[in-house]
């Protein structure tokens, strides 16, 4: 996927001010940057949710200007909100979101096992869950979708140590079968270890960290840590 000089606007405010970024298949890209830098907007742009005001962009071969609806089926987005229904149980939520994109019940069950939800929590209404447990549920909904491009906005927020391990393992598995992942996270130690590349978002623009690759990404983390 590729963006060149992408500008996106919320209201009259340019959340993205000419972003250039190229991501290759199988990469795990970590977006970092201060609050309000445009990380979330970048993810929403990739998901085909935010229209491109200026510039060009392609995701999975689809033009973001003309064809952003057709990207959505192949992309999985975990935003700030979890998109869960408070009155339904964990299982019902994962089932619903899985079913809407045609996942089989076996895939749904596997996703729940993957995120450690198959046991005690399965029948609990989402309204009774803690923030971290809700996040796990939302991740399970995402896992059930088998997207080609995963867009994760602060996925580690609220997760405990096991949750994070499960998430990381899930993401590695996904890339192993050809998925591409873009993560926005403030938790550099956790996400940095995972990422193959580190990208800095500042003022709605992209600053590529020099020398991509896992090792240099961790090096960059050491500097900032």
């Amino acid at each position: 996927m590729q963006l060149s000089n992408a500008v996106a606007v919320l209201g009259q405010f340019p959340v993205l001010a000419g972003a250039d970024l190229t991501v290759h298949r199988g990469e795990i890209v970590l977006l970092q940057g201060p609050n309000g830098a445009g990380k979330t907007s970048l993810l929403r742009l990739f998901a085909g949710l935010l229209p491109l005001a200026r510039g060009e962009g392609t995701v999975l071969g689809c033009d973001l200007r003309t064809n952003r609806e057709s990207i959505r089926k192949r992309v999985g987005l975990l935003g700030h909100a979890n998109g869960l229904y408070a009155d339904l149980t964990v299982t019902e939520n994962v089932r619903f979101w899985g079913a809407t994109v045609g996942a089989t019940s076996a895939e749904v069950d596997a996703a729940m096992v993957r995120m450690g939800l198959a046991q005690r929590l399965a029948k609990v209404p989402v309204s009774k869950l803690s923030a971290g447990q809700k996040r796990r549920t939302a991740l399970a909904c995402l896992v059930a979708r088998r997207a080609e491009l995963w867009l994760l906005d602060e996925p580690h927020a609220g997760l405990d140590a096991t949750g994070r391990d499960e998430l990381d393992a899930t993401l590695r598995e996904a890339t192993a079968v050809g998925a591409t992942i873009i993560v926005a996270s403030h938790e550099l130690e956790r996400a940095g270890a995972l990422a193959t590349r580190l990208v800095e978002v500042v003022g709605g623009q992209i600053r590529e960290k020099a020398g991509s690759g896992g090792s240099s990404a961790s090096a960059a983390i050491d500097e900032s840590a």
Binding site: A47, G48, L49, L50, P51, E69, S70, I71, R72, K73, R74, V75, G76, L77, G79, H80, A81, N82, G83, L84, Y85, A86, D87, L88, E92, F96, W97, A99, T100, V101, P125, R145
Partner: protein
């Protein structure tokens, strides 16, 4: 499209069965409205004469609340966004939510009709049953369709509580007129005969036909960013 509609409708109805907002809050509201009408209209004769109209007026007021509720579930935790992000067919969402809303409305209308029989001394007669049932069916579907359509537009925007009635009430005027006249004919209010009701049912049919097609086409562009 229909698979999505079924999923969304089942989800909405399940949430309703769990939370019981309609049964515990909207039904009592509609009932008290029926009592208040009697206070305002004072004499028994007047109330008995206008009972069918009051049933449908109370339905319209309740419709506004039901539509708000229907979309509050979606916007509470960003599910509307998640649906768009998942590339779920907007036509399916539209029909599904309209179906669930129609089911809730139907329950409400039965209670209101019972209230009219008890409080406003309306008589159900065998000759009018077919007209009565088809009128309620057509009006319910029509109201659910336009309610969902404009509810989707108003969902997630500033001032949605006030925008919805402004947009919705003018549109449902034909349903109010048609359903009231047909119900009068079916119940024999003020000596109306059943035969008078059929043209009105035709009007409701046209309404349903127009807005089922128009709504299915228009819903997507209305909820898109």
């Amino acid at each position: 499209m229909f698979r999505t509609a079924r999923l969304v409708a089942a989800k909405d109805l399940r949430i309703e069965l769990r939370s019981r907002v309609v049964t515990n809050q909207v039904l009592p509201f509609a009932a008290i409205v029926m009592v208040m009408f009697a206070f305002a209209l004072n004499t028994d004769a007047v109330v008995e004469r206008v009972a069918p109209g009051l049933v449908w007026l109370a339905t319209l007021f309740s419709l506004l609340i039901l539509v708000q509720r229907s979309f509050a579930i979606e916007t509470a935790d960003g599910a509307t966004d998640a649906m768009r992000a998942a590339g779920i067919d907007p036509a399916g969402i539209f029909l599904g939510k309209a179906l669930a809303l129609a089911a809730e409305l139907a329950v409400l209308e039965i209670v209101l009709l019972a209230t009219a029989v008890i409080l406003y001394r309306q008589d159900l007669r065998a000759s009018g049953v077919v007209l009565l049932v088809s009128t309620f069916l057509a009006a319910t579907i029509g109201l659910a369709l336009v309610g969902t359509l404009y509810g989707g537009l108003a969902a997630g925007v500033r001032g949605r509580e006030t925008l919805l009635p402004l947009l919705l009430l003018p549109v449902v005027a034909p349903v109010l007129i048609g359903a009231t006249r047909a119900t009068e004919a079916a119940l024999g209010t003020a000596g109306a005969v059943v035969a008078d009701g059929w043209p009105w049912l035709g009007l409701l049919g046209v309404f349903v036909a127009l807005f089922s097609v128009g709504g299915t086409l228009a819903f997507g562009p209305l909820i898109e960013e």
